[in-house]
Structure formats: C-alpha cells, structure tokens
Symmetry: C2
Subunit: 248 residues, 2 copies
C-alpha cells in the first residue's frame, strides 16, 4: 500500500481525502490542516494534525492548499524523504524546493458538497525524478482512468484553456439566466441545449459543432440581437460574434 | 390521430419527420420540399412533394424552413383550414398571415446525422386562437415532456439567451481547443470539466456555480493568463473576466 499524507482541508483536499481513504492501494496515513476546525469533517478519514512537525514519513505528500500557500507548506516538508507534490494547475513544479518533487493536478471543477466520480477526472502528472514519476503515475492510476503526463508549461496552458471552457462558459450561462429572468422565462428551458452543447464536442470538434448567426454571418439577426441586449451584454455579444465570424 | 403536414427537408425538418412518423398519435400525411432531391431521405416516412398546390388538408402544417422563407411558404398555405405554425425561435408569429396560426419552437441544437431524444427537448408554443393552442399543445405533448407556452417576445429573448449558452459556449470550447492544440495537449483532457460545468447548472444557479480567478478578483493570475494569450483571445479574456468580476 502506498502511504499518503494529505495537506489541506478545502474543497479539493476534501475530495482527495474521500477518494484516497476508500482506495485499496492507498493508505491515507495523515491529514494536515493549518486549522483543526477546518479539518474536523475529515477526522473520520485519517488522523488530523495542525502541526507540520508532527507529520510522519510517507511515500507521497499531496499538497492541496491555495496556490499562494504551496511554497511555504512545501518548505516545511524539506526534511522528508517522500515525494512532495502540489495539485495546482497554475503553479510550476519548481515552487517545491525539493529534489523529490512533482505535480498531481486533477482537472475538474470541485464544488463543496457535490460528489464526483474520480475515475473519470483527468489527472495531469509531472515529476522531477523518473522513479517518482512512476510512483505518482501509480497513485494517479489507482483513482482515475485518465492520467496524462504533462510538463509545467503544458499544465499552465491547460489551466488557461479550462478558464475558457469552465469559468467563461459558466458566465455565458449566467447571462442566459439574466435574459430569461428579465423576460419571465424559466432558466430550465435552456438546460437541455446546455447539456447537448457540452456533449456534442465529445463527438465533433468545437469548430464542426459551431452554429448560429455569427457563423452564418447573418448580419440582420446579429443587429436585431444587439438591439435587445443591455450595454455589457452587447459588448460581449459583439466581440464573441466577431471572433466566431472570423473563424469561418 | 392528428394529421400533420411538414414543410421543409433540412436538419430540423428531418428530426421532426422522424419523430412524427413513429408517433402513435400523429399521422404524418405529407412532406413538402422545394427540391425533391433534398427530401429523398424522407420518402420512407411520408409521401413527399415539391408542389405546394398538391398539399392535402391537415390538422397542422408545420413549417420547418429557414427563417427568411417562412413568410413566403406560409402565404401559399392561406387557403388551408388547418393550423399553420412555424418552428423558428427568432421569428414572431405574425409573419404567418393567417388567422389560424401559431409557433412550435423546439429549443435544441440540431445536428445532421446525430439522433436526439425528443421527449427531453423543450417545445415552446404559441397560437393566435385558443382552440389552436390546445391542438398545438397536444401535438407538442405527444413528442415532448417539456412544453412551454411562450409569446413571441419571450421566444425572441430565449433565442438570444440560447446564442449565449450554445453558440458562445461552443466558441469558448473552440478557444480551449486552440490553446490545447498549440501546446500539444489533447483536447479530450477538457471534456470531463466541460460536462461537469454543464451539469452543475442543473443543481446550482450559474451565479452559485461560478469559480475562477475573475470571481476571486485574483489580479496576479489574470495578468499572468493575459500574457500567455494571443491578441484576440486576450480581448475576450479581459472582457469576460471584467464581466464576472463585476458580478461579485
């Protein structure tokens, strides 16, 4: 069994603690949280501590804290022999000042209280040493079917792509809801097309899937729509329509 | 059985012909297409004709042609007694110059060759006369569990909202793919987060679901990301991040 220490008690740490603790090839030996209160919901999964000096040795130390705290936390692990990895998409491997370091980045949008099946979540891994890479790969493969080797530059770019397909997409949903609310149309009417749009890109490329007035360069409809929108919606409508039109 | 004549042979018409022809309460009595060749794939579903004057009487005439052709096609049906409806989100009911008129708008992104289960597709209906509304409602309910009464103004606004949650969302997927391609990252890594983002808004509102650097007003990450993008991506990144930040 691979011994794992988890550092953090937020959203991602909670999801990881849950999946690690039930996995047959993983022994979650300890959880560290700066504040014991924040980690109380994890105390049934593994012994918790708020003192880094109390951490025992392990095969892998998984740091799942906010990006800005990774370096500080990792420095306190410099005396450990185990592999030290962080879980951040936006952070390069080198912030961990330790020869035995790596990255274990699960690419998903984690929401508190919403269960996720980990086996379908892509895990992007990187390690400084070959043998650590193999260890990390085996950890990743024990919880997910989708494991990708990726260097820090690729991971950074992937994280930016995820801002577009997750954060910005969700913002499009927000604007859709605003328009519905303003016209007494239930937002649920949009849910099937939202799901279909998301599913379609599993079968067709996004470029093939594109439809709508901007792709058709249907200037009459574009002008009609702009007239109906408020100023901030209109700015977004215009810039995205231009972008689409330029692609076709 | 309700007798239905379908006018059109494009994407939507093909999907409608398929679902009408197998439905027990619907008798698809005829399909009209300006060009017989374009409708040959439908000839097993109902008799096809390219001559509007040859159309027989029916309970409902469903016009599923391009928006710009609706008026012309509907004028040729002025001698019919049956209810004449179009299927366009962006077109008001009144383009059909007939007292017995209405709208039957299935809100979905229809792709040629990709089967859809109609029962989950919202159908937005409107009719000038009360008795026609009831007829249209019964037609809609025979193929879908989600039928909404909606006037032309609401439908127009819903159609604009759909541009945001479908066309613009798909464009975000395109940009995500561009970034992946440029960095030798397979686009499939993004598919799980794309699906989760789409599913999440069934359980939380889009405003509750929002995450990311713009929501956190994390200026450091926003600046880092902008630096990595090309000019057109950066313009979009900036305007959408501003929009998100302003909401929180």
């Amino acid at each position: 069994m691979m011994q794992v220490v988890l550092l953090g008690s937020g959203n991602l740490a909670t999801h990881l603690a849950t999946v690690f603790s039930v996995n047959e090839s993983i022994d979650l030996v300890q959880i560290y949280s700066r504040s014991i209160e924040n980690a109380l919901h994890l105390e049934n999964l593994a012994p918790i501590t708020n003192t880094i000096d109390n951490l025992i040795e392990a095969d892998v130390f998984v740091i799942a804290v906010s990006d800005s705290a990774i370096q500080e936390v990792s420095q306190k692990l410099s005396a450990k022999n185990g592999l030290v990895v962080h879980t951040s998409g936006a952070t390069c491997m080198e912030v961990i000042n330790n020869d035995n370091c790596g990255v274990f980045y699960p690419l998903q949008s984690f929401t508190a209280g919403k269960d996720l099946t980990f086996e379908n979540i892509p895990i992007c891994i990187e390690a400084k040493q070959k043998k650590s890479f193999l260890l990390l790969e085996s950890l990743a493969k024990s919880i997910s079917k989708k494991v990708y080797a990726m260097n820090s530059e690729q991971r950074k770019q992937l994280h930016i792509a995820a801002v577009f397909v997750n954060n910005f997409v969700n913002y499009m949903y927000q604007i859709g809801e605003e328009i519905c609310d303003a016209n007494n149309v239930p937002f649920e009417v949009l849910l099937p097309i939202i799901k279909e749009t998301a599913f379609k890109v599993s079968e067709l490329t996004p470029k093939q899937s594109q439809t709508g007035p901007a792709k058709r360069k249907d200037k009459k409809t574009l002008a009609l729509h702009e007239k109906e929108l408020n100023e901030s919606q209109r700015k977004i409508y215009r810039i995205l329509s231009e972008g689409i039109s330029n692609n076709y």
